[in-house]
């Protein structure tokens, strides 16, 4: 539970804390998916329930945003995939959510502008000069 009266969070906007929580949930989800794949690789018959549970919590965290951004039928498909116990559907759901997180720039990491740095004037322009 986040303590909003804590020294580190008192000066942080709530939105930023939520973003961090979302990223944390995503990380947890990936961890469980990794454990699942590892078990499968070892030849045991793993249970996808752990991944499914984390995905569902992750989805709950993002529900309002996803509802806003996706069309009704897309949202419904996503929901069906989230609650599914089939691996393929779960992966599809993760893909959809990932794409949305990238779109809202929460996980977008390739924002740096690419330019021809050997052209000084191009660089000036990119640096707003």
């Amino acid at each position: 539970m986040v303590d909003f009266n804590n020294e580190t969070t008192i000066s942080t906007p709530a939105g930023d804390v939520i973003k961090i929580l979302i990223l944390q949930r995503r990380y947890d989800l990936f961890e469980s998916l990794e454990a699942y794949n590892k078990q499968r690789g070892q030849g045991t018959d793993p249970n996808i329930g752990g991944v499914s549970a984390r995905l569902y919590t992750f989805w709950l965290e993002l529900e309002a945003m996803l509802k806003r951004r996706l069309k009704a039928e897309e949202y419904e498909t996503l929901y069906q995939n989230v609650i599914s116990d089939k691996e393929a559907n779960i992966i599809l759901a993760i893909n959809t959510i990932n794409a949305q997180l990238d779109f809202i720039k929460l996980t977008k990491i390739d924002e740096r502008q690419v330019y021809e740095s050997h052209r000084a004037e191009k660089e000036n322009k990119v640096k707003s000069m």
């Binding site: 740095s117 050997h118 052209r119 000084a120 004037e121 191009k122 660089e123 000036n124 640096k127 000069m129």
Partner: protein, 284 residues
């Protein structure tokens, strides 16, 4: 021998010059700075660049008497000539100008004013000076200098330049202020591009030498006059609060002989000033 594209400098520089010209077409101020030690080829490269621009605009090679200004006094005059004759580029070679006290302040003020007033001149100004860090921060805040070409390590066969954007210039400027050996700052910032350039053809180099030496001689003469404490008619007139004509007439009347004649201008010293001053008191 010339480089791949038939130019006298590496092709990469022409791409950067074209970008500057494009900026000028959009009515934006553009200052290209060439800095480096004495004899590294600043003026040579500046002439190559100016020739390239002239060629691009369908003009012949630059005429030094129109497009090359040695020192601040010539600059404004040549700028007017360039504007009148619709010439696209002017070279301002400081030619030891900055060694005079207050020259830098005057220069910075002049450059500032020039670009504020005459932005629509559509002329690329190429400024040659030993170190660009003497320029005011105000110029950089206004984003007037666009590209710096640091010229160094000239060999018998060619000169070398290193190009920096305004963005990188600001890093160099910051570092220069902090380092004991200011020149190390150039090695601490990666250039955007670098290349080489040839010497001028012999006849053109001779022509340039003539203009350049004349310009430098003018500066030398001024320094000599200052060091010797000589006074011309305008200075005497200012000190005595009388007109130049009055000074001329009374110098003749008192039969004061000039201490030195430089370029047909007569110069007097402090002693002569005192004689004139005493004479003036007598008249009152």
């Amino acid at each position: 021998m010339s480089y791949n594209s038939g130019l006298e400098f590496s092709d990469i520089l022409s791409i950067n010059i074209d970008d500057l010209l494009q900026r000028i077409d959009m009515n934006k101020a553009s200052l290209l700075i060439l800095d480096g030690g004495i004899g590294e080829g600043k003026t040579t490269l500046a002439v190559h660049i100016a020739d390239y621009i002239h060629k691009k605009k369908g003009l012949g090679k630059i005429n030094f008497k129109e497009s090359l200004a040695m020192g601040g006094e010539e600059f404004l005059e040549r700028l007017r000539i360039c504007y009148r004759n619709e010439l696209p580029v002017i070279i301002y070679d400081e030619a030891g100008d900055f060694n005079r006290r207050g020259a830098l302040t005057r220069f910075n003020a002049m450059i500032n004013r020039t670009f504020e007033t005459f932005r629509a001149f559509k002329i690329l100004v190429i400024l040659c000076l030993p170190s660009f860090h003497v320029l005011d921060n105000e110029l950089f805040d206004k984003q007037i200098p666009r590209v710096l070409l640091h010229v160094k390590d000239r060999t018998m066969a060619q000169g070398n330049f290193y190009g920096y954007s305004l963005y990188r210039m600001r890093y160099i400027k910051h570092k220069i202020g902090k380092l004991i050996v200011p020149n190390f700052a150039y090695t601490q910032v990666q250039p955007n591009f670098y290349g080489h350039f040839h010497d001028l053809p012999k006849t053109r180099a001779k022509e340039l030498d003539k203009v350049s030496t004349t310009g430098k001689l003018k500066v030398l003469v001024k320094s000599e006059i200052k060091i010797k404490g000589l006074l011309g008619y305008p200075e005497l007139s200012a000190k005595l609060s009388r007109s130049i004509v009055w000074v001329r007439v009374h110098i003749n009347k008192l039969k004061i002989k000039p201490r030195q004649i430089i370029n047909r201008a007569k110069y007097f010293n402090e002693e002569d000033l005192n004689r004139l001053s005493d004479h003036l008191e007598g008249l009152d």
